[in-house]
């Protein structure tokens, strides 16, 4: 090999190293948000509309694994459309078990809600989704109570169940609801689920729900707080509708040009969050105080078809 060619290759190698270093520096500068990582805090990730089995889902999953090195989250909430287009054993494998294998192997638990592309009967009985055979259920982590709803089928049974569960939760813990269809969304394809909102938002207000996470629109959006409640749409952890966010006065922060996922830490009365793209770029971040809800009603009812547990 000639010395000229050798030095050319060295120059190219040096340029590549410098470019990578530059990219690392840029990434470090862009992602200057720091989670407090307080002792005893509740840490989780949120993903929605992810179960395609495509390359983008795997890339987001890899980024989640990388993020967990600096933000050790314990569990993941799934905002629906967990398994697209068929729910045979291969589908569960390619659209869930393989992309999230490093997280599953590390003991990270997943808590699924049902989207319109999910087969309820199969997914609720699938152990790794932690639904325990129920279409809607509740679980507690630290000082946070999660209410997982089936927004495809908000029937009187579920409404009565939600009413009772929110009532019984009292007002000590954070209350976080998550389900597939967003009550507020600037997505051009679907947008806000007005009918659903008319039915369940009064309960959220009455019982002091603090934050709501949804998917369905294949974008990321943090909505301006509505009636004292924080709303997030995270529907782009596998799917993406490029440019689908309309300009509305609902949006605090929106992102519709790449896939994303969310990281959340709740410590005391503060919620810290960071939304990252599949390349690890920070899309949104912030610290949100818990809004004080003083009103607490009492409308008792009962339901044996759903699950409630302390984790």
């Amino acid at each position: 090999m000639s010395s000229g060619r050798q030095s050319g290759m060295m120059r190219k190698g040096l340029a590549l190293i410098l470019s990578l270093l530059g990219l690392l520096l840029l990434t470090a500068q862009a992602n200057d948000f720091q989670f407090p990582l307080k002792a005893g805090s509740v840490r989780f990730a949120a993903i929605g509309d992810m179960g395609t089995g495509g390359a983008a889902q795997y890339e987001v999953a890899s980024q989640m694994v990388a993020s967990r090195r600096t933000f050790p989250f314990d569990f993941v909430i799934m905002l629906g459309d967990n398994i697209y287009g068929g729910s045979g054993p291969k589908d569960f494998q390619n659209k869930f078990e393989l992309p999230y294998k490093p997280l599953l192997d590390a003991g990270v638990k997943f808590y699924a809600s049902l989207g319109n592309h999910d087969d309820p009967n199969k997914e609720r009985s699938y152990k790794p989704f932690n639904m325990n055979g129920a279409n809607y259920y509740t679980f507690t982590k630290g000082n946070v109570r999660f209410f997982v709803l089936d927004s495809n089928y908000m029937d009187p049974n579920q409404l009565a169940w939600l009413d009772k569960q929110l009532h019984d939760a009292g007002n000590g813990d954070w209350k976080i609801c998550y389900f597939h269809h967003p009550l507020y969304s600037s997505g051009k394809t679907h947008g806000s689920s007005i009918e659903l909102r008319q039915l369940i938002e009064p309960l959220f207000i009455k019982y002091g729900v603090d934050a709501v996470f949804s998917g369905h629109d294949h974008v990321y959006e943090r909505v301006t707080p509505q009636k004292g409640i924080y709303y997030f749409t995270e529907g782009s952890s596998g799917q993406l509708r490029d440019g689908d966010l309309a300009k509305t006065n609902l949006t605090s922060k929106g992102f519709d040009t790449d896939r994303t996922f969310m990281l959340v830490e709740i410590a005391g009365d503060e919620m810290y969050f960071e939304t990252l793209s599949r390349t690890g770029k920070e899309v949104d971040s912030g610290e949100l105080p818990r809004v004080t809800h003083s009103e607490l009603g009492a409308v008792p009812s009962s339901d044996a078809s759903s699950a409630s547990r302390k984790e």
């Binding site: 569960f92 009967n121 089928y153 029937d155 009187p156 009565a160 009918e195 207000i205 009812s301 044996a304």
Partner: protein, 199 residues
């Protein structure tokens, strides 16, 4: 700002009280059979619920002959149970046809409820809900057919569900195209269908 917030909350509380008074909260959830105290004024709904209860008894007796399905990390076990139940249901109802449960009187009651929903002030919202749920088109299911693998589940407008008789967990209403389908949830099999029900 605070005053506005309080009045908004008061309005929502009033809305909820209205809904409760409207009847849905009277339903006792988690019952094995359909609640007979649901929209009972209409004899068509009564007849429908009687047929549903008969079906649920059949379902329970067939399901009890299969190994109990527990949560599992093996999806093939869930699929096998679902298929086995669907086969048993098909064998037990070999002559099932549209109208067995959505009887003529029931269809009149359902069409009345649907018309009031879609022609009322909430009509546009109900149409939007169906559209947002990515409706299936050009599919007409028949009793004993399996719900198509991989097909999305169209969102049933929640305000429409409030106008329909409350169902036990065994079965659920589904909208497929313009058809209203009664689906056996655990068997993923069509129990009955009411064609062209949705305007």
């Amino acid at each position: 700002m605070r005053t506005k917030l309080h009045s908004a909350r008061a309005m929502h509380t009033l809305l909820l009280v209205g809904l409760l008074a409207g009847g849905w909260a009277r339903a006792l959830p988690g019952q094995g059979l359909a609640n007979q105290s649901q929209p009972k004024a209409d004899p068509g709904f009564e007849e429908f619920l009687d047929r549903v209860n008969t079906y649920v008894r059949l379902h329970n007796s067939l399901d009890s002959t299969l190994p109990k399905l527990k949560t599992t990390d093996r999806p093939e076990v869930i699929t096998a149970h679902e298929r086995a139940l669907a086969i048993k249901i098909g064998e037990a109802r070999p002559t099932a046809r549209p109208g067995d449960i959505f009887t003529r009187r029931a269809r009149i009651a359902f069409r009345r409820a649907i018309r009031s929903e879609f022609q009322g002030s909430d009509g546009n919202a109900a149409r939007t809900t169906i559209r947002q749920g990515e409706p299936l088109k050009e599919i007409h299911l028949r009793p004993n057919e399996i719900y198509p693998e991989g097909a999305p589940f169209t969102t049933v407008p929640p305000t429409l569900l409030l106008k329909f008789p409350k169902l036990p967990d065994t079965v659920a209403y589904r909208i497929v195209g313009r058809d209203l389908v009664l689906l056996d949830v655990k068997g993923n099999v069509v129990v009955d269908v009411m064609h062209e029900a949705i305007p």
